[in-house]
Structure formats: C-alpha cells, structure tokens
C-alpha cells in the first residue's frame, strides 16, 4: 500500500467525513422518530400496554308512588377475558372450562362478544355465582387475561307482580347496534327490553365508567390498579312512577295461578297508572343476565301465553261495558235523557231483519235509560243505536277515543279495533257483504269492536270525572286530559248515578263493598269456542272517584265475577289510602 503521509491524511479526511455524515444521518433518523413523531409512537406504546376495562354502572332505580322499589340493582360479579385474538380466547376458554363449568353456548357467546368489540374484555359470565368467582379468584395466576369485577345486576323485588309493566334488561344485540337508536352503545352493554326498562332506556341507562389495566405482550394483566385514574360509573337519577306496588301485588295475588286476564287501575283525574297487571304472569327476574333457553321455551310453549301482555295488547270485545259510550252519544245528540224510554219495551228479543236477543230471555219490559244501564238491557241499546245511526255511532266512537291507542308510556300497546267509518265494512266484507244491522251489535259493544283493558279504563276516567279522559302514564308527570264527553254536568251526573246503581242493585250487585259506593259496568262477551269473557270497568268512590279499574277475566263466565275482583282492588286501594290519610291527620 502507498503509505505516504499525504495520501494517508487525504484518506483519513475522507473517512472522517463519511463517519460524521453517517452518524449525522443516523442521529437525524432518531431525532425524527423520537422528537418529531414522538406523539404517534407514545400513542402506540400506550395502546400496547393499556387496556380499558369498562366498569358497568347501575341502572336507575324505579320507585312506586310510595317510594317502594319496583326495580333495583344487586351486587353481582362479571367474569371476562382480555385476549389478543380469537384463537387465544378459544384456548383460554378451553382451560377455563376445566376449572369452572362453561357450556358451549356460553363459549360461543363469549366469542361473539369478543368479535363485536375486540379491545374490550370478552364477558364470559354476566352474573357469576359466588362459587365461580371464588374458584377463579384462587387460581387467577393461571388465567393471565382474566378480569373479575363487580357488575350490578337488575333485580325486581316483586318480579311476577310487575312483569307486565317493568320489562327486563338484556344484552344489546348485533342488530340493535346497527340502529341509530343505539348509537354509542357497545357490544356487551345492557339495554331495556319491554316495559319501562325499554321506554325509559335513556333515563335508566347506566353510565359506564372505565379503568385501565396494564398488560404485557401476551395480554397478561401486569398491573391492575393505579395505572390511570378510574372513571367511576354514574348512577342515573331514579324513576318515580305512579304505580301503587301494594295494589299491584294484590292484583297478582288475586289472579293467582288460575285466572287469566288483565287489570288496569288509573287515577281518574291524572291518568296515573296505579296498577297494570296481566295474568298469568312470570318471574321477570329470570330474564336478568340472559334468559335460560329452557325457561324461555316453557314460556313460549305455555298455552296461556304468559308473555302476552293482556293489559296493553289484549283486545277483547268490550260488550256491555261499552253501552255507556252508546248512552253518552245518544244524550249528546239529544236523542235521549236518563229517563227516556224506547218505543218498544224489552221482550227478550228485538227484530231488525232478523232476531236480536237480549241477554235476559225474560225481557226487561218498558224501562228508562237509567234502568237499561243498571240491567244492561240489550234491546234498549239496539233501539238507541238505530236512532243514533251507524255513521254517527262510528264517528262518535272515534271521538271517544276507541279507535286509537291511549299512548301510555309503555312500548307494545296494541291499537284497539274500531271502524272509523262504513268504508271499513266495505273494505272488510265487500260493499254487499254487510248491512246496517251491524249498528245493533256495535251499540252493545259487540261486532267489530275490540278494546284493550287500558283503553276501556281511559274512557271511564272521562265518565268518572267531568268528561275529560286522562292519558294513562306510569312515570309521574303533569296530567294530560282531553274533553271527550260533551254533556251538561247534570246529564253526566245522571249517567254516573246509573252506573252507581249497577253495583248497588244492578248486574254487579253481588260485588258490593260495605261502606263504599262503587260505580261501574259489567260486561259479558261471547267468544267463539270459549267460555264467555268477563268484564268490569268502574270507579270508586262513586261520588268522588279516586280509582278507575278496568278488568277482564278470560273465560270468567260473567261480568259479575270481574266486578268482584275489581271492587276488591278498589277497596284495597281506598282503604290503604284512608289509613294513610288518617295517619297523616293524627
């Protein structure tokens, strides 16, 4: 090699230049990564090591009007797994299954939950038993991604009594998540299903908190607490309802296991729902934390359809309870007064194209409207209906609210059947398929008329007061009332007197209660292939109504049966109220 100092010095200069250039480039690359792109990498490093674990909150408590609890939350535990991938979750589930019992459905559900929200721990048990929790807690080290934490679970102290109005909670489904209504929900969270839980989801929804755990590269939880400040879940304010839980329980007791039907009790001046019950009922608590398939199947297979909410969605021919509507319409048109008699006295039947029977074959003779109401004389109302005329009767029915839902604050209320005009008949039967004699059946609450107990109760709030119907509602709010009956106060009082007579000496005389004047109307509706349905709609006390009750008992044979239940409920409610007033007056 040429080792002349000059050439060596030149090469050393080149070498030094290259060294400095190379290190400057390298340093520049580090400056770019560490200083210029620092934020981006900090984020990546943080998302590497931190996992957000949701802290489930408690849903809002639901109270009745006296501060008794309808829905609350019990302490519970959820068990979930943090996993980097489906495969690792599968293998973690396999090893978990050797320690605690996890059936294949639960495993599949856990995988579904994981796929829906991969960064969240996949919930395995929503509501783990104490035994499962203690076993897992003991062997925690074997399951690196395991997260056990408190998760409040919904509890309804009077489960079977409130099933028809409170609904239940369930995990939000994949379908739900795609809906705008559930924007902001995450897989695994709970939503209200049915009843108040669904209707007031926004108000009741738990405000989820979160905490962070530190995990290593294999998703093993390394530090559980103090990694970052926790965000505590917030409890939403409680929901106060107009329900009287005692009355609700009483209805449940009274219907027992043998009766089928429904009852709705309203406060006539406000429309506040005091009780709403559908029988047979079931324990809604069994829906919490996932419905056991066997239990769900038994509910579905039950011929008495316990999940069918008869109070809101059961539509029944209102029968004689509807005769008051005919009477009101006749009086509004000036066709009759309370003491008006019909041209043809009741002989047990009436002829209009064919024979129309009165329920009492013996006949009621020549009677006034008041007597016709008390005795529920069909022949009298046939003639009144004919005088009103089909068109007026249909329009009047609409005006009285029989064609629409009551718009109670519960989901799944069914619209009652009431023809808005004769076009309905043309549509249903063809222009020649029907005749005007249908007005006779309609005026005694039969034919194309099917009302829910709720809708009948609403109509009677107008009868019990000054002709204004109150919109039923469960959550306390300002009453909404609408004038549907346009009669002079004296005329309305006449009708109210006649209704009181029904219980004092008419069709519901057997249901009298000592010391309580009750007004109301029985109804007995024939159903093809079944025993008659029994109706009673009424209110008490007759002179200053505090409660309206509409009740239907399927295959209850006669309205008087329903009347007995109704008056018991009224008595129960009013006596409790009297005692309370007495106590407060002391």
């Amino acid at each position: 090699m040429s080792y002349h100092p000059n050439s060596v010095r030149r090469r050393a200069l080149v070498a030094r230049g290259l060294l400095v250039a190379a290190f400057t480039l390298l340093g520049g690359a580090f400056f770019r990564a560490q200083v210029l792109r620092n934020e981006e990498f900090v984020l990546k490093s943080e998302s590497n090591r931190l996992r957000e674990v949701p802290l489930p909150g408690a849903r809002g408590i639901i109270y009745d009007r006296n501060g008794q609890i309808i829905a609350e939350n019990l302490p519970g535990y959820s068990v979930s797994l943090l996993s980097p991938s489906v495969d690792s979750l599968k293998s973690a589930l396999r090893s978990l299954a050797q320690v605690v019992e996890i059936d294949s459905a639960q495993q599949a559900l856990a995988l579904r939950r994981f796929r829906a929200a991969r960064t969240r721990p996949a919930v395995i048990f929503n509501d783990a038993s104490f035994q499962v929790v203690s076993v897992l807690e003991e062997r925690r080290a074997e399951f690196p991604g395991l997260i056990i934490q408190s998760a409040p679970k919904r509890y309804y102290p009077d489960g079977p009594a409130v099933a028809a109005l409170v609904g239940y909670t369930g995990e939000v489904s994949d379908d739900d998540l795609s809906k705008e209504r559930y924007a902001g929900y995450k897989a695994g969270q709970l939503v209200g299903r049915g009843g108040l839980e669904q209707q007031y989801e926004k108000a009741l929804r738990a405000r989820e908190g979160s905490r962070f755990v530190e995990v290593d590269a294999r998703n093993r939880v390394v530090r559980d607490a103090g990694v970052r400040p926790e965000i505590q879940p917030e409890a939403p304010p409680p929901l106060r309802t107009t329900i009287d839980l005692d009355l609700q329980r009483y209805a449940h007791e009274y219907f027992g296991d043998s009766l089928r039907g429904a009852v709705v009790a309203l406060e006539p001046q406000t429309g506040g729902v005091l009780a709403l019950y559908s029988a047979p009922s079931y324990d809604i608590n069994k829906f919490t934390g996932g419905i056991a398939p066997a239990f769900f199947k038994s509910l579905l297979d039950d011929p008495h359809r316990p999940m069918f909410n008869r109070a809101l969605a059961g539509t029944y021919a209102p029968a004689s309870t509807w005769k008051l509507a005919t009477a009101v319409l006749g009086m509004e048109m000036g066709l009759v007064n309370i003491d008006t008699r019909m041209p043809q006295p009741c002989t047990g039947h009436y002829y209009y194209g064919r024979v129309f029977k009165c329920w009492d074959k013996k006949g009621h003779g020549d009677i006034t409207l008041a007597q016709a109401i008390a005795k529920s004389c069909d022949v009298y109302f046939y003639q009144l209906g004919l005088r009103i005329g089909l068109t007026n009767l249909l329009a009047g029915g609409v005006k009285l609210g029989f064609g629409d839902r009551t718009s109670i604050d519960l989901p799944s209320e069914r619209r009652p059947t009431w023809p808005a005009s004769t076009a309905y008949f043309d549509r249903t039967y063809g222009a020649r398929g029907w005749n005007k004699s249908v007005v006779l059946s309609l005026s005694i609450g039969q034919a194309n008329n099917a009302q829910t107990p709720l809708s009948m109760a609403r109509f009677y709030t107008a009868l019990a007061t000054d002709g204004k119907a109150a919109t039923p509602h469960i959550v306390a709010r300002a009453p909404e009332r609408k004038q549907i009956i346009e009669l002079k106060p004296a005329q309305l009082r006449d009708i109210q007197m006649a209704l009181a007579d029904v219980v004092s000496r008419g069709t519901a005389a057997g249901a009298q209660i000592q010391g309580l004047t009750i007004a109301g109307k029985t109804g007995t509706a024939q159903v093809n292939g079944q025993q008659d349905n029994a109706w009673f709609v009424g209110y008490a006390p007759a002179d200053a109504p505090k409660i309206v009750v509409a009740i239907i008992i399927e295959e209850g044979l006669h309205g008087s049966v329903a009347a007995k239940v109704a008056t018991k409920l009224m008595e129960r409610y009013l006596k409790a109220k009297l005692t309370m007033t007495a106590v407060t007056n002391d």
């Binding site: 090699m1 060596v8 070498a15 390298l26 580090f30 560490q34 990498f41 995990v215 290593d216 590269a217």
Partner: protein, 421 residues
C-alpha cells in the same frame, strides 16, 4: 510526570480507552435495564453480572495484549487466521443456533455447551490477515485482477459465514474488505466496479433503476479503461446479475425473503416478522427527548420489545433515555471511530494502520446495521451492537480490538501530542 520504568508505556491513548470504557459501562447498564421487566421467567435479571465478569476478563486480556508488540500481532496473523477458518469449519459439525438466529449454526457447541462464535474471531483474524496481505502490496493497485489475494483472504471466511447462514456477519466482512481496500489506496473507481455486480443484484428488482445503474457503470468502465477482459467480464457480470437476481430470489429461504420484504414495509406482517421492528420503533419513538427513565421503558418491561438484551438493546436506550441518551451513545461511538481513524493515520507502518482502520470499520458496520435496524433503516440481520449487546465472546473480541488499537496507538507517530491531547 513520568515514572521510572514506565517510559515506554506511558503513551496510553486515553481518549480511545476512555470512550471504550464509557461505552462498555453504558452497555452493561443497559444490559442491567434489559433484565428489569414485569414478565417473569425470562432469565435476564442476572445477565449484567455475567457481562460485568466478562468485562473484567476482557480488561485483563487487554492489559496482556498491550504488553505485546505490533510485530507480535503481525506474526500471529497467520496462525489466528488458520485457527479461525478451522473453527468456522467446525461449526458445521458442532454448530447450534441461538436467540433470533436459532436457525443458524453460528455457535460452536461441544457437549451441549455453547463455547463461542468463531465468526467473531474470524472478523478479527481476517482483519489482521488482510492487513498483512495489503501491507505487503508494494505497488499501487490498478486493476481488479491484482485484488485476487486480498479477496481470497476475505472470501474464504465470508463464504463459510454465509453458509451458516449468517447474513449479518457476511455484511460485516464485506464492510471490512471495502474499508481496508479504500485505506490501502485502491482507487474508488475500482471499488465501485468491484461492488457493481452486487449492486446490480439488488437493483435488479426494478428494471429502470438497474438500467440507470448499468449506464453509469458502462460510463465508468469507458472512463477508467481497465483491462479489456476485465471490462467485458464486469459488464457481463452485471448483466448476468440483473437477470439472475429474480432466480436467486426464488432460491432464498422463505424467512430470508420475508426479512427483505418486511424491511421494505414492516406492516405487511405486523404480527409476525415485522413485529420486532415495529415494536422497536414504537419503543424508541415513545421515548421522546428524555426517555421514560432508566429501567422504566414499558415496551421493554412488558415484553413488547424482543431481544432487548442483544439485538434490540439500542431500542432500550431510545425508550428509556430518549433522544438525549441516543445522542450520547452515538456521540461516544463517533468519538471512538474518529479516534481510531486517527490511530490508523498515525500508525508507524502500513500493517498497523490497516489493522486499525479495519477494526474501526468492523465496529462501524456493526453500529450502522444494528442501530439502523432498530429504526428499520436496515434489514433485521441479527448482528449485535459492540459494547452494548449481551454476549461474552463478542465483548471479549471488541476489547481485543481495543487492545490492539491501544498498542498500535502507543507505537504510532506523534504520541507526544496524543498524551497532551
């Protein structure tokens, strides 16, 4: 103030020794930090103590070597070279892999115990042998044919290392070879021509880029006018490489192909072979200006960072000490290399000068490839970082190099101002 009897040895190159000591202490501290994790059973906790023990041994060896002379080193070049070749051959019989390079047979293993990596010794031996060879070359080299001897010296161990296969160490050999040829005064045009078939091989993946390179090469050949045969062979070799490259690509092992593709874009396999580099970048980038604090890097603690005690130890520097720590480490390396270049420039003779420059260039390639790899500037080849990466034989060899440099420095010209700094 010279003490009696120490006149000859007082000229210790303090800056050289100092930077090497600082780098080693820095490195052992990082090996200690690499063991501080939240992940149990990784067996890294006590490594720093072993590294420290090796360092003590290395210091002893250094002292012994500095007692010797350059003449002795020159004399030993042949035996060491032969020994290293024999040991390299032995790895094919007794070899085993380790760490990220578990598929290679770089470790000499006897009775299940890994004795050491012969390729580490081979780097040193080849440097010495090449220096001897080039120092004997009296005339200025004007053509490629005259390079056959030096190329043989590098070629034999290089082929053996590539057959292990250890691509990373192979790159170091090439780096040493070119650096020493440059230092020996081989014209740069010849070096470009020598490298041209390899460049063609890499550029062949894009016909356009290769075409441009080819035109430049032809222009260079016409301008430099080497022997006609040489020029023709060169042009043909480049054409063949351009054609052969795709075929050669198919012959590569899948993991080798993957390494190359992942180098181009680590995100194509973010959970697999790109994972290491991505996590390393995240570790370094998240360190910021001042780092997360010594031993406190979360990427390292939680095992996101792979091989944090060896190949990716510089990522720990970046994560825990930030840009400031990186700057200090790189500055120390640069200082060491500049000082080594100075030693080479002031060496008493051609042989020590070439040895000094060769040793420096081997370190330089290690640093560039290893540190560059942590930021995905270089493909992941699994070569360690001198003075930092955990590994006894490597630390020992690095300090042997320091010792040789110290010796050369001591015998070099102008040591008076070296002492006076």
């Amino acid at each position: 103030m010279a003490r009696p009897g120490l006149v000859r040895r007082q000229s210790i190159d303090i800056p050289l020794l100092g930077t090497a000591l600082l780098l080693t202490i820095f490195g052992i501290a990082m090996v200690f930090s690499a063991g501080q994790t939240d992940v149990p059973d990784k067996g890294l906790v006590g490594l720093w103590q072993r590294q420290l023990a090796f360092f003590v041994v290395a210091l002893g060896a250094t002292w012994v070597i500095t007692r010797g002379t350059v003449r002795l080193i020159e004399w030993s070049a042949w035996p060491i070279y032969v020994l290293s070749i024999v040991l390299l051959l032995a790895t094919f019989a007794f070899g085993s892999g380790a760490g990220t390079a578990s598929s290679m047979k770089g470790w000499l293993t006897i009775g299940g115990r890994r004795i050491g990596q012969p390729s580490e010794l081979a780097k040193l031996a080849t440097t010495l042998m090449l220096a001897r060879m080039l120092a004997m070359q009296r005339e200025r080299i004007r053509s490629l044919v005259e390079l056959w001897k030096p190329l043989m010296v590098v070629g034999v161990p290089w082929l053996l290392v590539m057959a292990q296969p250890d691509l990373g160490t192979g790159i170091v050999f090439i780096g040493i070879c070119f650096a020493m040829l440059f230092w020996a005064g081989v014209p740069w045009q010849l070096l470009v021509m020598l490298a041209s078939p390899g460049v063609s091989l890499i550029l062949a993946f894009s016909t356009g880029v290769w075409g441009a390179w080819f035109l430049i090469l032809v222009a260079l050949v016409l301008w430099y006018r080497p022997y006609l045969v040489e020029g023709v062979v060169l042009v043909v070799a480049n054409v063949v490489m351009g054609v052969v490259a795709p075929l050669l690509w198919d012959k590569l092992k899948p993991y080798q192909q993957q390494r190359f593709l992942v180098f181009l874009d680590p995100n194509i396999d973010a959970k697999g072979s790109g994972y290491n580099v991505i996590q390393s970048q995240v570790a370094i980038g998240s360190g910021g200006l001042f780092g997360k604090g010594f031993t406190l890097g979360s990427q390292k603690r939680l095992n996101f960072l792979p091989e944090q005690q060896t190949d990716f130890i510089f990522s720990v520097v970046g994560e825990e000490l930030g840009f400031v720590g990186v700057f200090v480490a790189l500055a120390l390396f640069l200082a060491l290399f500049l000082r080594s270049t100075r030693v080479a420039a002031r060496a008493a003779d051609a042989f020590p000068s070439l040895v000094a420059f060769g040793l420096m260039s081997a370190w330089f390639v290690h640093v560039m490839v290893n540190v560059g790899m942590t930021l995905n500037l270089m493909p992941v080849t699994g070569i360690p970082l001198p003075f930092f990466s955990y590994g006894g034989s490597f630390l020992l060899v690095s300090w042997l190099a320091v010792a040789v440099l110290l010796r050369i420095s001591a015998e070099g010209r102008g040591q008076a101002d070296a002492l006076g700094l």
